[in-house]
Every structure is written in structure tokens, then in C-alpha cells.
């Protein structure tokens, strides 16, 4: 019974700190994460935009390789890859003719035995995570889920498609204060980062603005594309908005790593465009470095929904309908 790991292309390149921090955390937790042998690109947005069979065949080859290697579940930390792999598994398991056709294309029999897990599910499945916390991550955070971690709801069967809570619950476990905010699942512009940077700057700017207005000290992400757009595209965002945003964007695994007392350098925090100024997990956040929550008082925003994340009717990762 082993859990495989599908890094995907971003995590080997522009998002390498996501991979570095995940592996540092998994090592500290004593969980092995072997990579799927000879994995290929999932095809991402490009494949499903241009050809349906290609968009199914590329993930099917990955999943078939995982199955062949005896993996019963696969951790896919990139939300975009997670979506492509989940959609493929869903479609091929629901249509025997299609499964046969795609198996023919990839010259291997895809059976669909390996489950696809996202990072929040995987971390949520680790018992007693709280006991691993050495330096509580005592910061106000805006958990940004983006689109593909939670949608399409009928396929990923994970958390709510809008106003999700799973990442907020994880952040609470490591001592953070997750805020209520309006842009949890709004799109950052995703794959248009290069081809339509203007649109990405606008959409990502709205996300940062809301997080800052509510008094967040960091945006927590679980997707390389979201990170790229919110962090690396910061100069484009600031140019369009005509103002500066100092709020850092941190991968969920980096926040967890910091809380577990792992060295910031091992978590790749030095690779961010927007520097993370509280890397030592200080209990007292450097409030001066962020734009003050002038218009909206944080307390008001927090109590807007009334209930705390712990009492929310969120089913939790264990409720995911597997197989």
C-alpha cells in the first residue's frame, strides 16, 4: 500500500519551492512519497483546450504508470494537475468504451484503481498534526483555494465549491488565524499568465486587495499557478492597481514547515518574489509591513458569517466518495 507522488512540471521548475517544502514536511512526518515512475506532463489547460483525447490520454498514462507500480493513491499537490487527473479518472471510470479507447492510445490498460488526492486531503489525513507543531504559525492568513481544488464539485468531491473550509481548518491546527474573506475561490487568471498578463494582473489584483483589506498577513495557496500569478506577477498587479502590496504568498506546505520548525531555506522561502518577513514564526507579527486594514475592521469581517470554521458543516476529506 503505497502513496505515489505526482510533482508535475511546475514543481520541478517555477514552483520548485512547493516541492522542496512538501518533501521537507513529508520527511519530518516520516511519510515516504515516491514519484510515479517516468511520469509525463498532464497536458494542463493547453491539452483540454485543443483536443479531448489528448487531454484524457496524458493523465491516463500517468495514472496507469502509478497503478503498475502498485500505488493505491496518488498525491497531486498542483491543483491544476489534480483537476486533470481527477477529471480523467472520473470520465474513464464512467464510460467503458472511452476507457478502452484511451487505454489503446496509451498502450496500457488503465483500470482506475489509484485514487487521486490533493494536498489538503493528504495533510488532512495525517493524524495528530497539531502535535508536530513546534512554533505555532500565529498569523492572520487568507486561505486561497482557487478554482480547481474544489471544482467541479461532482468530480473532485472535495469540500464546498465556493466558501470551502478545509484549508482554514488545517491552518487553525498549526496555530494560524484564518480570516473570512470574499476571494477564496475566485480565479487568478491561471494559464493566461504569459499570453494575457493584463487579465491576470486584474484578477489577481482583486484577490490581493481583498486579502489586504481584511488584515491578512499572508495568502496561503495550494497551487503553483496561483502562486505564480499572485507572487511572480506582483509587479504587473501593482502597476495596474497603482499601489504596492507587501503581502507574501506562501504555499500551504511552507506554512506547515515553518510551524514544524523546519528551516526557511529548506522550505524554499528565499525563492519568492515577495519576501516573507516573518520566517522565524514569531508570535508577534510585524504589523508595520502590511497595509493597514483601514476601511474594514478585521473583527467585523471575521464575524460576518457567525460560525467558526470548526463548527462548519464541512464534510472533511474522509467523507470523499472514493473508488
Amino acid at each position: 500500500m503505497k502513496t505515489g507522488f505526482y510533482p508535475g512540471c511546475s514543481m520541478k521548475g517555477s514552483a520548485r519551492e512547493y516541492s522542496e517544502s512538501l518533501l521537507a514536511v513529508s520527511q519530518a512526518l516520516g511519510r515516504e512519497l515516491p514519484e510515479i515512475p517516468d511520469w509525463n506532463c498532464c497536458g494542463a489547460t493547453a491539452a483540454h483546450n485543443l483536443d479531448r483525447d489528448l487531454a484524457l490520454a496524458l493523465p491516463a498514462r500517468i495514472l496507469a504508470a502509478a497503478e503498475k507500480d502498485g500505488m493505491y493513491e496518488v498525491l497531486v499537490p498542483c491543483a491544476a494537475c489534480y483537476s486533470r487527473l481527477s477529471v480523467t479518472r472520473h470520465e474513464l471510470l464512467g464510460d467503458e468504451d472511452l476507457r478502452r479507447k484511451i487505454s489503446g492510445l496509451i498502450e496500457a490498460d488503465y483500470r482506475g484503481t489509484a485514487r487521486v488526492l490533493n494536498i489538503v486531503e493528504w495533510l488532512g489525513g495525517i493524524p495528530d498534526l497539531e502535535s508536530k507543531v513546534r512554533k505555532p504559525f500565529a498569523h492572520k492568513v487568507a486561505c486561497y483555494y482557487g478554482c480547481l481544488l474544489v471544482r467541479p464539485a461532482g468530480i473532485v468531491n472535495f469540500d464546498r465549491p465556493e466558501e470551502p473550509r478545509s484549508m482554514d481548518l488545517l491552518m487553525k491546527k498549526i496555530g494560524a488565524d484564518p480570516l473570512d474573506w470574499a476571494f477564496k475561490t475566485e480565479c487568478c487568471g491561471a494559464g493566461f499568465s504569459v499570453s494575457r498578463t493584463d487579465l491576470v494582473a486584474r484578477l489577481s489584483g482583486l484577490i490581493l486587495d481583498d486579502a489586504v483589506q481584511r488584515g491578512a498577513e499572508a495568502v496561503i495557496v495550494a497551487c503553483p499557478m496561483c502562486h505564480l500569478n499572485l507572487d511572480m506577477r506582483r509587479p504587473n498587479i501593482e502597476k495596474l492597481a497603482g499601489k504596492k502590496y507587501n503581502i507574501p504568498v506562501i504555499y500551504i506546505t511552507q506554512a506547515l514547515g515553518l510551524a514544524m520548525g523546519i528551516e526557511p531555506k529548506k522550505l524554499g522561502l528565499q525563492r519568492h518574489k515577495v519576501k516573507v518577513k516573518f520566517t522565524q514564526g514569531l508570535a508577534k507579527p510585524p504589523a508595520a509591513s502590511i497595509t493597514p486594514a483601514s476601511a474594514k475592521p478585521t473583527a467585523g469581517a471575521k464575524s460576518a458569517s457567525g460560525d467558526s470554521p470548526a463548527e462548519a458543516p464541512f464534510a472533511g476529506p474522509s467523507a470523499k466518495r472514493g473508488a
Binding site: 511520469w39 485543443l50 483525447d53 490520454a57 487568471g189 504569459v194 499570453s195
Partner: protein
């Protein structure tokens, strides 16, 4: 500008071809507009998603199907899945958008405003086809050649290299010959390249 090719080409209406390929019925849409209200890029689109549904429904006017096929909308769709999440009729609009893109591509009817977006997708898949994984540096060079935006992000690459995010050599997958065959049987077999 408008050709009537597809009318002679396929006796079937566009909405029915989409239905056949995806199992998704645009006819179920009753124009409540929730998709267009939630769509992050509706303001940039020539037709918001709900109007695309309407264009498909009006089968008796082939020119409307043609407008949907040649729209900028279908290329601006980010597949963020908000429309599908909010649709009271649970119409899988992103899937319709995918099918419309495939159709536009096969019939050479891609909106000229979408040329950069398409260039990026093609550069991405070229990289995957040759090495099996995305080689970011190669893809960006390929994109610049295709789109002619040579000066874009000139300062981004050196920074990425300095922080260790940009590799100068691609990672190659052992099974890339198989991947080459997969591409040959799918994208390359169907696409009429301009």
C-alpha cells in the same frame, strides 16, 4: 468573412454536434444569467456564457452558431468552473466551451484576437510532445517566436534563473516515443494546421 462551409459540411446543427460529443445539452439553459454574472472574464467577452448558450439554441439560424464558433469568448474561458457550479440547470458549460474550441480549431475558425492564447497552448504542447514534460524555458522561446512578443517579460527570466526556478536543460521522459505516438493519434491527426 463568414463562410457557410459548416452548413454544407455537417447537416447537424452545432448544438447537436456538441451534445453528441459531450452529452451536455445547451437547450436546457433558460437564460437566468448566473453563469455570466459569476464569470470572471464576462466583461472581456464578446458574448457572455449565457449568450453563447442562446446562440447554440437558435439552430434555425446557422449564422448564430457561426458567431459562437468564431467568438473570442470560447478562448477567454479559463475553465474556472464557476458557471457550472452556479448553474441551476447544472449545465456543464466549461465542457461546451472545450467542444466549441475543438470545433473552431478543426474548422479553422479561431477568433484572431485569441492568437496569443492559442500560440501559448501550442508552444506548451510542443514542449510536452518533444520531451514528455513541460520545459518552461523552451516553451517561452517557442511562444515568443509564435507570438512575436520578443520583449515581454525580459527581466523575469534572469530573475527566475537567479532564484533557481528556471532550468536551462529539459527533463526527458523515457516513454517519449510513446508520447509522440499519442500526439500523432490525437491532436496531430485532427488538427488542420494553418
Amino acid at each position: 468573412m463568414r463562410s457557410d462551409n459548416h452548413v454544407q459540411h455537417a447537416s447537424q446543427a452545432l448544438a447537436d454536434r456538441v451534445l453528441e460529443r459531450t452529452g451536455v445539452e445547451a437547450d436546457r439553459c433558460y437564460q437566468c444569467g448566473k453563469c455570466s454574472a459569476g464569470c470572471p472574464l464576462a466583461a472581456e467577452m464578446d458574448f457572455p456564457p449565457s449568450q453563447i448558450m442562446h446562440l447554440l439554441q437558435l439552430r434555425e439560424f446557422p449564422e448564430f452558431s457561426e458567431m459562437a464558433l468564431r467568438s473570442h469568448t470560447i478562448w477567454l474561458c479559463l475553465t474556472c468552473e464557476i458557471c457550472y457550479a452556479r448553474c441551476p440547470m447544472e449545465i456543464d458549460i466549461p465542457r461546451i466551451m472545450d467542444a466549441l474550441r475543438h470545433e473552431a480549431l478543426a474548422r479553422n475558425k479561431v477568433n484572431p484576437k485569441a492568437k496569443d492564447i492559442l500560440a501559448f497552448h501550442r508552444a506548451f504542447l510542443d514542449s510536452v510532445r518533444t520531451t514528455g514534460r513541460l520545459f518552461e524555458m523552451g516553451q517561452i522561446i517557442d511562444y515568443k517566436l509564435r507570438s512575436r512578443h520578443f520583449l515581454q517579460d525580459m527581466l523575469q527570466a534572469p530573475w527566475m534563473f537567479l532564484v533557481g526556478k528556471l532550468h536551462l536543460l529539459p527533463e526527458r521522459v523515457r516513454g517519449r516515443r510513446l508520447l509522440g505516438r499519442i500526439f500523432a493519434r490525437t491532436l496531430k491527426a485532427k488538427e488542420k494546421r494553418p
